[in-house]
Symmetry: C2
DNA sequence: CTGAAAGCGCTTACAG
DNA sequence: CTGAAAGCGCTTACAG
C-alpha cells in the first residue's frame, strides 16, 4: 500500500508517472479516479509505479480542474469572544467532523475572531472557490448570511431554524419551543408560580422560540405572561449574575428561572445565593446544554441536553445531500432530553 | 469598496477583466497583488472595473500557480473521542484562530475522529498541497509526526516539548515540570505527606514532565517517591473515578492527589466521597486546566491555569515565522498560574 | 481501452 | 510600466 514514509520532498506529478509507465497523463488520471474503462492490467501496473515513485495527487490542481474542493466551510458565530465556553460549538463541530471524515471532506473553519463579519468570511470561502458547501452554526433573525447563500443557491445547511419567509433551506434543530415549554411545565409542576426567563441573545431565532414555549406553558397553566420577567443577553456568566441580582431584588420575587445556558445559570445562581436566597428552595433554576457543570456544580442543575453532536452530524449529512445530490429544503428535528436535578428539587 | 452583495453566481475571471479594460491578464494579476510597477492610473482604473464586474480572485487557482495556499492545518489528537471535553483544545484553537485571522490564514482542521492515524492526515494535508504549515496540538513520546515533519523540513510548530533527540523544532509549552513541582510543594505545605498522582496518558511528553516535577518536589522535601502512587490514564471522568477508588482503598491511604485535568479530578473526587472520605480534609486534590468546573464545582478545585489560548496564539506566531521567514528551532515557554481553592484547603 | 488537446484561473520570469 | 508565453498539476470531452 505504499505506506512507507517518503522522506524526500520531491513532487512527483502525473506526467512523470505517465512517462515512466509509457502511457499518457490521461490514463494515469483515470487510474487515480478508478475509471472503469481502464483495463485491469494497466491499472495495476500504473498503481505499482505510482507507489514506487511515491506519487501523491495534488488536491489543489484537482480542485481547479474539477471546480470542486472536497472541503466544507464551518462558520462559527462572531458574536462572543468565548464562543467555545459554550459546549455546543465544540460538540457540534465534533459531529460535523465525524461525518466529514467518513465522507472524505476536509473542514475549513472561519477565523473571524474579531475582524470581519460572517458574511465577509462566507463570501471569501465561496467566491474564492475554497469550499463546496457551508454549515452555519447559528442563525440570527433575518440573517443576511442565509439570505446570501439562498440567493446564490450555494449548498449549505443551518443548525437552527430559519425564521424568514425563505423556504427550501436545509436545516436541523431541536424543538426549542417544546423543550422550553416542557421545562416551564416542570417548574410549574414543582409548584412555582412566578417564573422568570433569561433567554439568550435577542436576535437569535432560538431565543424567540424558547420565549414562545415559555409563554405557552405559562398561559396554559393560567399564569400571567409578564414581559418584565423576560430577560435577554449574551451567553456568559456575567449576564447571568447581573440578571440574577435583578431578579432576586424584585419586590415580588420570582420563585423560578429558566436560563438559556448552564454557565449563565451558574452566574445567576451565585449572585442569588450571595444575597442569602436559597436555590432551589426559594428560587428554582433550570437551564440548557447539560454541560459538565450542570452535573458537577455545587448545586446540580436541571438542564436540557440538546444533543449538540447529533445536531452537527445531521447538519453535515444534509450538507452532503445538498452538495452531491442537489437536495434543498430538508428539515430534521433532533430530540432533546431533560435531566432533572437538584436545582428544581430533583436528584 | 464593492461591498454590495453580488447575487448572480457568475464567475468573472481575470481574463474577462483584462479584456474589458483593454489590458493583458498579466496586468490585472499585478493589480491584484499590488505590484508597484503598475502605474497608479492603470491600477485605479482596473480596480474600478473589477468592482464593477464583481471580480473575486480564485484562491485555488492562485494556490496552484504560487504553490502556496494561505492555509494552515491543525492536527487534533486522535486519542480520545471526547477531545473537546478538555477545554485545552477549543481554547488553544481560539488562540490559533485569532492570530491566523490577523495574518489572513485559513484553518483546515483534521477530521480524524476515528478513521486514520494522525500521520496519514498530515501526509494528506502536505502531499496534497493543501496547507503551508502544520500545528501539532499534542506530542507523544517519539512522535512519528514530528519525525516526519522534521525530516521533510515542512514548516510546523508544536504545542508541547519535543522529547526526542531532535533539535530545531518550533514549539511552545508551559513549564510542566515546574508547575507540577509547585503544585506538589503546595500540597506538602498544607501538611500532606503521602501524595499520589494521576498523570494523564503515559505516552505524552507532558505526562512524563509532570511526573518529574512531582518527583522532584517529593524528594526535595524528604518524602519517598513511590511508584505505586503514580497512575496514568486517559483524560476522562472514568479514569479519575477508577483511580480514585483505588487510592481511597489503599491500606496506607494517601492524603493528597495531583490530577492531570479537572474533569479527571472530579471523577476521582466523586468516587472518593462516595466511600465516605472527605475532600479536602482526608484527601486534598489539585489539578490542571482551571476549567469552569474547578471554579463552580461542588468542591472548588485548586487548579493550574496553563493559559491555553496563549499557547495556541504563540504556536501560530511561530508557525508564521516558520512559513514566511524559514525560522526553525524557536522555543517559547508561557507562564502558568496556580489557583488555590477549597480542594487544598484554600479559598 | 487509450491518447492528444484544451482547459481550470491564476502567476511570473523574460523581453521590451 | 506592460504584454506574450509558459507553466502550476490535474481532468475530461472528443476521437479513435
Amino acid at each position: 500500500m505504499g505506506s512507507e514514509i517518503l522522506i524526500k520532498k520531491s513532487t512527483v506529478t502525473i506526467k512523470e508517472v505517465a512517462k515512466r509507465a509509457g502511457v499518457s497523463p490521461s490514463t494515469v488520471s483515470r487510474v487515480i479516479s478508478n475509471n472503469p474503462r481502464i483495463s485491469k492490467a494497466t491499472t495495476e501496473r500504473i498503481r505499482a509505479i505510482m507507489d514506487e515513485m511515491g506519487y501523491y495527487p495534488n488536491a489543489i490542481a484537482r480542485s481547479l480542474a474539477k471546480n470542486m474542493t472536497g472541503t466544507i466551510g464551518v462558520i462559527l458565530p462572531t458574536t462572543s469572544e468565548d464562543v467555545f465556553l459554550n459546549p455546543f460549538f465544540p460538540e457540534a463541530l465534533r459531529g460535523i467532523a465525524k461525518i466529514a471524515s467518513k465522507n472524505n471532506y476536509d473542514i475549513l473553519i472561519s477565523t473571524n475572531i474579531d475582524k470581519k463579519g460572517e458574511l465577509k468570511i462566507i463570501e471569501n470561502f465561496i467566491r474564492g472557490s475554497k469550499v463546496d458547501g457551508i454549515i452555519l452554526m447559528s442563525n440570527k433573525l433575518d440573517d443576511e448570511c442565509i439570505e446570501y447563500l439562498y440567493n446564490i443557491d450555494f449548498p449549505f445547511s443551518l443548525i437552527g431554524t430559519p425564521n424568514t419567509h425563505l423556504e427550501n433551506i436545509n436545516h436541523v434543530d431541536n424543538d426549542n419551543l417544546l423543550a422550553t415549554y416542557e421545562l416551564t411545565k416542570h417548574m410549574i409542576c414543582i409548584g412555582r408560580k412566578r417564573i422568570a426567563i433569561i433567554a439568550g441573545e435577542e436576535n437569535l431565532t432560538m431565543t424567540q422560540n424558547r420565549i414562545q414555549g415559555y409563554k405557552k406553558a405559562i398561559e396554559e397553566e393560567g399564569l400571567v405572561f409578564d414581559t418584565s420577567l423576560v430577560f435577554m443577553g449574551s451567553f456568559d456568566e456575567k449576564t447571568g449574575s447581573q440578571y440574577g441580582k435583578v431578579i432576586a431584588n424584585m419586590k415580588d420575587m420570582p420563585d423560578g428561572i429558566i436560563v438559556a445556558d448552564d454557565l449563565v445559570a451558574y452566574g445567576a445562581l451565585m449572585a442569588i445565593e450571595e444575597l442569602g436566597i436559597k436555590v432551589p428552595e426559594d428560587i428554582a433554576i433550570a437551564s440548557f446544554n447539560n454541560s459538565i457543570l450542570s452535573k458537577y456544580g455545587n448545586i446540580p442543575l436541571t438542564s436540557v441536553d440538546i444533543n449538540s453532536v447529533e445536531l452537527g452530524s445531521k447538519a453535515m449529512e444534509l450538507l452532503i445531500d445538498a452538495i452531491e445530490r442537489g437536495v434543498r429544503g430538508s428539515r430534521i428535528i433532533t430530540p432533546f432530553t431533560i435531566f432533572k436535578r437538584r436545582s428544581t428539587m430533583g436528584g
